[in-house]
């Protein structure tokens, strides 16, 4: 396609930025159409998300979720697999976290964090293993199987919460509260060690550091290890990879395990870091936002990090918007949809004009 005609730097910066710009313009028109001021809305969102350490705290908390789910989708995309099942894998990750926190008495949060991270990753990876295996061995379309697994995960979690984890006599389907020893240190406590004041309200916690660490780990895995090379080679051309002796079955299964584990890790932030108990809608669509984040971040861990911050801003800003204006929170779902549409599906519509501009400059 026209990719070769755009310099690499423009491909990774101009194309996503133009897409986001288009998404914002259309959302602005929507805001204007429902009788609100797009300019005031934007100002409110920026102030709500970045204007205080309270806002920053929430922005970073949401961003932590999106880094995990975005990395999950990005790793799979590198092997040209579309893992749409981050939602289900994160739900299962939540179950893993809950089981670890509820049934094992932990003396200290640090041990609980290690075990819960393992639990989340193993459960998430396990939930991605079956679609991965079926894709590799039986050729079952991974998009469809992972969608189906999202619904099966929701039912499974519903069963666990209603019949197994719900305390006797409790009404709503949720697990009991985790013991206080498993509460994760919040960002204000960590910054407090260095004497930096930070709002104590937002749930942003140590998982943020794990998420950033995961960005580096994924980058290292993809670009500095043999497995990463094989994953990218497989994504570029499956027949070529096969000729080079790379087993498609092995790569597909490995990629899905890594992807599922990353999606599952999200639960450490949301279930262990914020709610401190497992509820039905613990993931709240973050698994799907991972798709938008990965697309915008061009499947690169650094891009995913930036895109996750952008979506964290949208979530926190959107919450402020719903609080102070008549614009419902669902506006951010619209923006998210438009970002997916422009960066993912209408990619060529954005790219072709940019390629033309470069072609014109090159002709001079």
């Amino acid at each position: 396609m026209s990719r070769g005609r755009i310099p690499h730097w423009a491909d990774v910066t101009l194309v996503p930025l133009a897409s986001v710009f288009l998404a914002f313009v259309i959302s602005g028109i929507l805001i204007w159409a429902i009788g609100e001021s797009p300019w005031a809305a934007m100002k409110l969102m920026v102030e709500g998300a970045f204007g205080s350490s309270y806002g920053w705290g929430y922005t970073l908390f949401y961003a932590t979720n999106f880094i995990f789910t975005g990395l999950a989708v990005a790793v799979a995309f590198q092997a040209r697999l579309f893992n749409i099942g981050g939602e289900g894998q994160a739900l299962l990750g939540g179950l893993g976290v809950a089981l670890v926190c509820l049934y094992i008495p932990w003396p200290h949060w640090s041990l609980a964090l290690i075990a819960a991270s393992l639990g989340a990753a193993v459960f998430g990876a396990g939930w991605a293993l079956i679609p991965g295996y079926l894709q590799a061995k039986r050729g079952s379309h991974i998009v469809i199987t992972t969608i189906m697994f999202n619904f099966i995960a929701a039912s499974l979690l519903g069963y666990f919460l209603v019949n197994v984890l719900r305390p006797q006599g409790a009404q709503d389907p949720s697990s009991p509260r985790f013991p206080s020893e498993t509460a994760l240190p919040k960002l204000h406590e960590i910054l407090g060690v260095f004497g930096i004041p930070f709002s104590t309200v937002p749930p942003v916690n140590i998982s943020l550091l794990i998420a950033v660490g995961m960005c580096f780990a994924v980058w290292f895995m993809l670009w500095r290890t043999r497995l990463g090379f094989q994953i990218r080679a497989f994504g570029e051309s499956e027949p070529a990879a096969e000729y080079a002796g790379i087993s498609p079955v092995r790569i597909t299964v490995y990629v899905m395990l890594i992807s599922g584990a990353l999606a599952g890790l999200m639960a450490v932030n949301s279930v262990m870091g914020e709610q401190q108990r497992l509820v039905l809608n613990a993931v709240e669509g973050a698994g799907f936002i991972g798709i938008a984040v990965a697309l915008m971040g061009r499947n690169h861990p650094f891009g995913v990090f930036l895109a996750a911050i952008l979506f964290g801003f949208l979530y926190q800003g959107g919450a402020e918007l719903a609080l102070w204006t008549g614009i419902p929170r669902e506006l951010i779902v619209v923006i998210q949809a438009l970002v997916i549409l422009f960066t993912g599906a209408l990619d060529n519509m954005v790219r072709i004009p940019i390629a033309r501009i470069f072609a014109m400059r090159g002709a001079r």
Partner: protein
């Protein structure tokens, strides 16, 4: 389970299967032409909202249905633009449509009606009237035939019967008309169709537009026939159940009808009973809800007959120069 309960469950199956049937046939036609559509859910949702809100404002359900079909076709064409014209990723486009629908219906519903993302409840002519089939009253007390004809088949909204009619129509269109032959060919081998001098793009847009019409009817029935108004996220995964039914039926119209009735029955049973004992095994309601998805994965895995999608599905057609 006594006989009356069975009749009631089957009657509810008829109603629950209808939106699934429309959406399933919609997906079937689109995918037969080589355009994957995981945006059925979103199109149904937007259609459900449009049908309910226009029916409420105009007081006439059929104006609402027309608006629903219109907006659903518009979204279909957006999918076509992304996946046919700009050769974008069809799956990602479908995902985007689902989110767009989930967000925009609530934003606009809140703006128009200020009831927390729902429409006011519909009554009178703004809802679909139930139709009594001929002789339904007369046959009511006849044993066996009476409960089946009066209790299960009669007394549904017009769209229930339209949906049933769409099954033979789709079959006829796909397998007995020239358009259908070309449509199937474009899903298997677009290059051959192109060589024959038939427009691949035109055929695919045609299929996508039909898909839009059917999704529009599915959504309209959901909010004005099955329920009395639109509520946030009211499709609740039905678009994906329809997708599952389509795979379960291996892209064949008559089998699609069988699949949606099976999945509709599961939903009806799950709605009525919280837990059900089958041969001494207690089956929780969640298992019933998950069963359509589990069955589809089993079919996809090829353990019980292989589901092979149209060969050119998911790929944009690039003409040779």
């Amino acid at each position: 389970m006594d006989f009356m309960v069975l009749v009631q469950v089957l009657e509810s199956t008829m109603r629950l299967a209808t939106p699934l049937l429309f959406a399933c046939l919609a997906g079937l036609i689109s995918e037969r032409a080589g355009v994957f559509d995981i945006g059925l859910e979103g199109k149904m949702l937007v259609a459900a909202f449009m049908a309910a809100s226009i029916a409420f404002v105009s007081g006439n359900v059929w104006i609402g249905v027309a608006a629903a079909v219109g907006v659903s076709v518009a979204m279909s064409l957006m999918h076509g633009l992304a996946s046919i014209t700009f050769r974008g990723n069809q799956l990602i486009s479908g995902v985007a449509i689902n989110f767009l629908a989930a967000g925009i219906t609530v934003v606009i519903a809140q703006n128009w009606f200020r009831q927390g993302g729902r429409t006011p409840s519909l009554s009178g002519d703004a809802r679909m009237a139930r139709i009594d089939l001929p002789f339904a009253e007369a046959l009511r007390d006849v044993p066996v035939i009476g409960p089946i004809y009066h209790g299960i088949l009669s007394g549904h909204a017009l769209l229930v019967y339209v949906a049933l009619l769409c099954v033979p129509l789709t079959w006829f269109m796909l397998f007995r008309t020239r358009f259908g032959l070309r449509l199937r060919a474009v899903g298997e081998n677009p290059a051959a169709v192109d060589t024959a001098g038939v427009s691949v793009v035109g055929l695919r847009y045609g299929a996508v537009a039909i898909c839009g019409v059917l999704c529009g009817l599915a959504g309209a029935y959901l909010s004005t026939g099955l329920s009395a108004g639109f509520v946030k996220d009211m499709t609740a995964g039905r678009g994906f159940i329809a997708l599952a039914a389509m795979i379960f039926a291996k892209w064949r119209p008559w089998h699609a009808m069988g699949a949606v009735f099976l999945f509709g029955l599961l939903e009806a049973v799950a709605n009525r009973f919280q837990n059900i004992d089958i041969l001494g095994v207690n089956l929780p309601v969640q298992a019933m809800q998950a069963l359509p998805y589990i069955l589809t994965v089993v079919i996809l895995a090829g353990f019980v007959g292989k589901a092979i999608p149209p060969r050119a599905g998911g790929a944009a057609y690039v003409k040779e120069h």
